[in-house]
Structure formats: C-alpha cells, structure tokens
Symmetry: C2
Subunit: 101 residues, 2 copies
C-alpha cells in the first residue's frame, strides 16, 4: 500500500479532516465503513452518481481518513481509525455518535 501517499498520523490536519467530514454524503460513507469495516466505491443505498462518489472518496483519502485496498480491479476503502485516534483522540467517536436528522 502507498503508505507514503497517505502520510502518517502526524500529517493529518484537523481542518482538512473536519472539512472532509463536513458533507452528508461523506459522513454516510464514513458511517458505512465504521459499520462494515470496508466499503466499496458505491455502497448500496446511496443515490449518488459514481463520478460524484469518486470525488468524495478522494477528499476522504487526501484528508487521511481512509485507506484503499485493491482487490483485483475493485477498490475497498476503510477508515484509518488508529491514525485518526492517535492524532485527534475522540473525534471519530463523537462524529459517529452525532446523527443528522
């Protein structure tokens, strides 16, 4: 995996992480990963065009929130829980506990 491209826990910037989390679709992707461990590019139940989703995944990845695992031609995304917890303790838990109505 391209560890270098994703940076280390210390590279995660709070404002970039909050910005990445500050969107309803990206929050839904984060909740999906939190629940299922890994998520496909287009999780079931999300009515969002694939090109739009690609952009959301890019923002999550560049903020350091997700890592990507290639399985053949597919990509599986997961949360960088340990890195996020090390850099911003409690943030992910607080966000996952908060529900948009």
């Amino acid at each position: 995996m391209a560890r270098h491209a994703e940076g280390t826990a210390a590279d995660l910037e709070l404002s970039a992480v909050l910005h990445a989390l500050g969107d309803p679709v990206r929050l839904a992707l984060v909740r999906d990963m939190a629940e299922h461990g890994e998520s496909q590019c287009s999780p079931e139940g999300l009515q969002v065009p694939r090109s739009t989703l690609s952009n959301h995944w890019r923002i999550l990845r560049e903020a350091g929130i997700t890592r990507t695992r290639r399985v053949g031609k597919a990509r599986m995304m997961s949360l960088r829980r340990d890195d996020l917890e090390a850099r911003f303790p409690g943030l992910l838990s607080v966000v996952l506990a908060g529900r948009d109505r």
Copy 2:
C-alpha cells in the same frame, strides 16, 4: 437576539457544523472565542482581510456555532457552547484539543 434565525440546538446539523469548523481561519476564530469568551469581528493577530472574515463569521453563525451580540455599532461573537454540547456531546472539546501544526 434573533433566536429564531439561529435555530435551536436540535437544528444544528452535524455536516454543516463540521464544514464550518473545517477551515484554518474559522478554527482560529473558534479558539479565540473559546479562550476569550467573546470575539470582535477582527481578532488581533489574524492576518485576514475583513471581508473574508465577514464570510467566515457568517458560515459559523449559519451553522449554529456562534451567536452575535450587538454593542453599539460593534458586534461581539461567542460560541454557542451549551447548544453544541447538547446536540453533539464532546465535539467542541475534541476540536479544541486538536491542534493544526
């Protein structure tokens, strides 16, 4: 104060709150209010044009993060700590504890 325009704690939307916090200048404004209670439109030490700051204050206010108190011609902004804590317990503490490097 225009309580109606700011909505109640239940109206705060997580994604809007995270988006509003997801900017280095707005984080600096939030930290300034957390430290000093109230903040003027242009806090000392922030090298940001006043028009840009006005936009940042608007985003914070519309997300429900701040309230505004008029003092003569001046406006003083403060954090809606209780409302934020009621709606998203722990969020503000986690954000204030996280430092951009």
